[in-house]
C-alpha cells in the first residue's frame, strides 16, 4: 500500500469530502392490535433534517444521547439505508445508489466501521478472509499472492496488530474486543477510502486499548488525510481526538463547532446537560449540577417544535411551537449571528436562546432553576 493513491496530500484541510444536506430517515413501525385495521402509517423518525460536512484530514465527532440517531446517520452516509429525504454529496456530486456497480464505487471511497465489533465480523471467516475481501473488491490486493500478502501485512501493521502472523489466521472469536475492533478498522482501511465512518469504534474497550485505537485514527487522519466521522458517547475523547464536534438529540443536530469550544463552552441546553453529566474525576462532586431528569423523547411521536423543550430548563413559549434553526454563536458563547448563516466549522446551536425573538416568545415555560 502506498500513500500516493490518496489525493494531493498537501491540499487545504477544509476541503469538504462528504456532505449531508437535510438528511432524514423514518423507519416504518409494525402495527399491532387494533391499529392493524387503521390506515395511519406510524414511523420512527430516527433522523430529521441533519446537515453535516466531513472535511479532508479532519475528524468530526458526533456525540449525543443513545438512540438519537448517530448510527443511523452513519449508515445513511454509507448508503446502507435508503434515505427518506435529503441529499448526500461526495465531492459535490449528489449520490444515490441502491446497489450494484455504483454502490461499490461509492463504497470504495466511503467506508464504515460498525458499532459492534462482535457483530460485524462474520464468525465463520478468519481475519485473512475479511481483509482479503476488502482488498480484492477494491483492487488493492495487488497482482500476485506475494503482493496480496504484503498488503495484508501492511493493513494489520497499520492497526497495530503486530506481529501480523499472529492474528492473520485467527477467527473473530479468538480475538479480544479491542483486537476485533482493530480488524474492523483494518477492513475499512483495506478499501483505501477517503472517508471513514467510525461508529463508536472504541466503546467496548478498556481505557488503555481505547487509547491505542484512537491514536491510530488520529494517525490515519494526519498521514492519509482521511475524513473521519467519529461517533462516541465518550465526550472527553471527542475533545481530544476530534477537530469538530456535533451534538445530536432525538434525531437532529442541536449544536456543532470546534471540539474544544463545544466541550468547554457548550451553548445548547442539551449539550450543557451532556457535558455536566459526563463523569469527571477532577471536578468536586458538589459542583455537579442537577442536569434535569425526564426520559428521552419518543421518536414515533416526537415533541413539537424543539424536541428538547420538555426537558429544557430554559424552555420558552416559542420552543414547542417552532423548531429552532441553527444560530451562530460568538466566541464568548453569546449569540452572534443570524439563523442559517453559519460558516463551516463555526460554532452554532439550534436553540431559540440564541435567536432574535419577541418578548412574547421569550416567556419562560417553567421556573428556571439553578443555572
Amino acid at each position: 500500500m502506498t500513500t500516493s493513491t490518496s489525493p494531493s496530500a498537501s491540499g487545504t484541510t477544509a476541503e469538504v469530502v462528504l456532505e449531508a444536506d437535510g438528511l432524514t430517515k423514518h423507519f416504518p413501525v409494525r402495527k399491532r392490535g387494533r391499529e392493524l385495521l387503521s390506515r395511519a402509517v406510524r414511523s420512527v423518525r430516527a433522523v430529521e433534517d441533519v446537515t453535516l460536512r466531513l472535511h479532508r484530514g479532519r475528524v468530526t465527532a458526533l456525540v449525543g444521547e443513545s438512540g438519537s440517531g448517530k448510527s443511523t446517520v452513519a449508515r445513511l452516509l454509507a448508503q446502507l439505508y435508503p434515505r427518506t429525504s435529503g441529499a448526500i454529496r461526495l465531492h459535490g456530486e449528489p449520490v444515490d445508489t441502491k446497489g450494484g456497480k455504483r454502490f461499490r464505487a461509492y463504497s470504495k471511497r466511503v467506508q464504515m466501521i460498525f458499532q459492534d465489533p462482535f457483530a460485524s465480523l462474520n464468525p465463520v471467516h478468519t481475519v485473512r478472509y475479511h481483509l482479503t475481501r476488502a482488498l480484492k473488491i477494491h483492487g488493492n490486493a495487488g497482482t500476485n499472492a506475494a503482493e496480496q500478502e504484503q498488503a495484508l501485512v501492511d493493513l494489520l501493521t497499520r492497526v497495530q496488530l503486530t506481529p501480523p502472523e499472529r492474528y492473520i489466521d485467527k477467527f473473530p472469536h479468538e480475538l479480544s474486543g479491542g483486537q476485533r475492533q482493530r480488524v474492523a478498522i483494518a477492513r475499512a482501511l483495506g478499501a483505501d477510502p477517503e472517508v471513514l465512518l467510525a461508529d463508536e469504534p472504541v466503546s467496548m474497550l478498556d481505557v488503555s486499548i481505547r487509547l491505542g485505537v484512537l491514536n491510530l485514527l488520529r494517525d490515519l487522519k494526519e498521514r492519509l488525510h482521511l475524513a473521519i466521522l467519529y461517533i462516541t458517547h465518550d465526550i472527553a475523547s471527542a475533545r481530544y481526538f476530534a477537530d469538530e464536534t456535533f451534538v445530536m438529540y432525538a434525531g437532529g443536530i442541536v449544536e456543532g463547532g470546534d471540539s474544544e469550544t463545544v466541550t468547554q463552552r457548550p451553548a445548547h441546553p442539551y449539550t450543557q446537560l451532556l457535558i455536566d453529566s459526563a463523569p469527571d474525576p477532577d471536578r468536586p462532586a458538589a459542583e455537579v449540577k442537577d442536569g434535569g431528569t425526564g426520559e428521552p423523547p419518543s421518536l414515533i411521536t416526537p415533541p413539537s417544535g424543539c424536541r428538547f423543550h420538555p426537558r429544557c430548563p430554559h424552555a420558552m413559549k416559542v420552543c414547542p411551537e417552532k423548531a429552532p434553526p441553527r444560530f451562530a454563536i460568538g466566541d464568548d458563547g453569546a449569540a452572534a449571528g443570524a439563523a442559517g448563516a453559519v460558516g463551516d466549522g463555526a460554532h452554532f446551536a439550534a436553540c431559540w436562546l440564541y435567536g432574535d425573538l419577541s418578548d412574547a416568545d421569550r416567556v419562560k415555560l417553567r421556573r428556571e432553576d439553578g443555572r
Binding site: F27, R30, G33, L37, S38, V44
Partner: protein, 326 residues
C-alpha cells in the same frame, strides 16, 4: 393494504393453491375410479356393466379437466364436497363426518398428551442436565426412531388375544352404538389405549429432546442466573423462568404438529383398524375416489392452515416481544 388483510390474503392464497394442486394431482394418475374399483376387488364385470358404472359416477360426460375444476370450485364455495365414489352415493361430508371425530379423538388427544408429557419430561431432564436423567436421552432417541406402525404391530402381537384386555382392532366393541353411556365410553377407552400408546411413545420422544435442548440453552441465559440470584425456589426458576421461555419454540412446533393430525397417523389407523380419516384417505387414494380424497385433503389443508394460524396466535400470546412496536 393493512397487515391483517395481507395475512388473510396469504392464507387464502395458500389454501387456494393447495386445493388446486390437490385437485389436479389425483387426476393425472392413469386409470379412473371405475377401473380402480374393478381392479382393487379383482371384480368381475362385463364391458357394458363397466359403462353403467361410468354413468353412475357421472364420469361419462365429456368434461375437460378445467371445466371440472371450475365446477369443483363452485361446489366448494357452496359448501358441497360432492359424492364419494367408494361409498357411492354417500356425500363426502358424511364420510368425513364419520371418520373425523375418531381421528381427532385418538390422534388429537394423544398428540396433545404426547406434547404435554414430553415437554414436562424434557423440562425435567434439561434442568437436571448432567444427572442420571441424561441417561434417558439415548433411550428416547432409540424409541423415537422405531417406526410406530411396527411398534403397533408388535403391541398387537404381544398384548392382544382372545382373553386380553386390549382389543386388537376397532374403536369400540362390535354391536355397541355410539352414545354417551358408560359402557360405550369404557369400550372406546379400552380400544384407544394401545393405538394411543404407540403414538404417544413415538411422538413424546421428539418433544422430550427438543424441550431438553431448549432448557439447556435457556438455563444459561442471564435472566435465569438472575432468578437464581434472587433466591427463588428451584421449582419457580425451572418453571417460571427456564421452562416458560424454553417452551416458545416447542409451542409453534406443537401447533404445526396439530395440523398433521389428520394426515400424519394414517398407519396407526391402518394397523389398529381404527375407523378414522387416515384410513378413509388411504382407501380413497386406492380407489381413485377423487371427491373423497379432495374432501380429506381439504380438511388437512384447512387444519394445517388453522394450525399455522394458531402457532402465530400462540406466539403472540406467549411472547410479549412479538407484540412489540417499532
Amino acid at each position: 393494504m393493512s397487515y391483517l388483510l395481507k395475512r388473510i390474503a396469504f392464507y387464502l392464497f395458500t389454501a387456494w393453491a393447495a386445493i388446486t394442486i390437490n385437485f389436479f394431482i389425483p387426476r393425472v394418475i392413469p386409470g379412473d375410479p371405475v377401473q380402480a374399483l374393478i381392479t382393487r376387488s379383482r371384480g368381475q364385470m362385463t364391458s357394458e356393466a363397466v359403462q353403467s358404472l361410468y354413468v353412475l359416477f357421472g364420469l361419462d360426460k365429456d368434461e375437460s379437466l378445467l371445466e371440472q375444476y371450475f365446477t369443483y370450485l363452485g361446489q366448494l364455495l357452496s359448501g358441497d364436497l360432492g359424492l364419494s365414489f367408494t361409498y357411492f352415493p354417500s356425500p363426502v361430508s358424511q364420510v368425513i363426518g364419520d371418520g373425523l371425530p375418531w381421528t381427532l379423538g385418538l390422534v388429537g388427544i394423544t398428540t396433545v398428551l404426547g406434547f404435554v408429557i414430553g415437554t414436562a419430561l424434557g423440562t425435567g431432564i434439561g434442568w437436571r442436565r448432567g444427572s442420571w436423567a441424561d441417561a434417558l436421552i439415548p433411550i428416547t432417541t432409540f424409541v423415537s426412531s422405531i417406526p410406530y406402525f411396527w411398534l403397533g404391530l408388535i403391541a398387537i402381537a404381544l398384548l392382544t388375544g382372545p382373553d386380553s384386555f386390549f382389543p386388537a382392532s376397532g374403536a369400540y366393541d362390535n354391536g355397541l352404538v355410539p352414545n354417551p353411556d358408560p359402557e360405550f365410553i369404557g369400550s372406546v377407552i379400552r380400544h384407544g389405549i394401545l393405538p394411543a400408546f404407540t403414538i404417544l411413545i413415538s411422538s413424546m420422544a421428539g418433544w422430550i429432546l427438543s424441550m431438553r435442548n431448549m432448557m439447556v440453552t435457556v438455563a444459561s441465559e442471564d435472566y435465569v442466573t438472575v432468578a437464581h440470584a434472587k433466591g427463588l425456589t428451584d421449582r419457580r426458576v425451572m418453571l417460571s423462568y427456564a421452562a416458560r421461555n424454553a417452551l416458545l419454540p416447542n409451542v409453534s412446533g406443537f401447533a404445526l404438529s396439530l395440523g398433521f393430525i389428520v394426515g400424519g397417523t394414517l398407519l396407526v389407523e391402518i394397523v389398529f383398524s381404527y375407523p378414522g380419516l387416515g384410513l378413509q384417505l388411504f382407501q380413497a387414494v386406492g380407489a381413485k375416489d377423487y371427491p373423497l380424497m379432495q374432501g380429506i385433503f381439504l380438511i388437512i389443508t384447512l387444519s394445517v392452515l388453522l394450525a399455522n394460524f394458531l402457532a402465530d396466535v400462540a406466539y403472540l400470546a406467549l411472547d410479549p416481544r412479538t407484540r412489540r412496536e417499532g
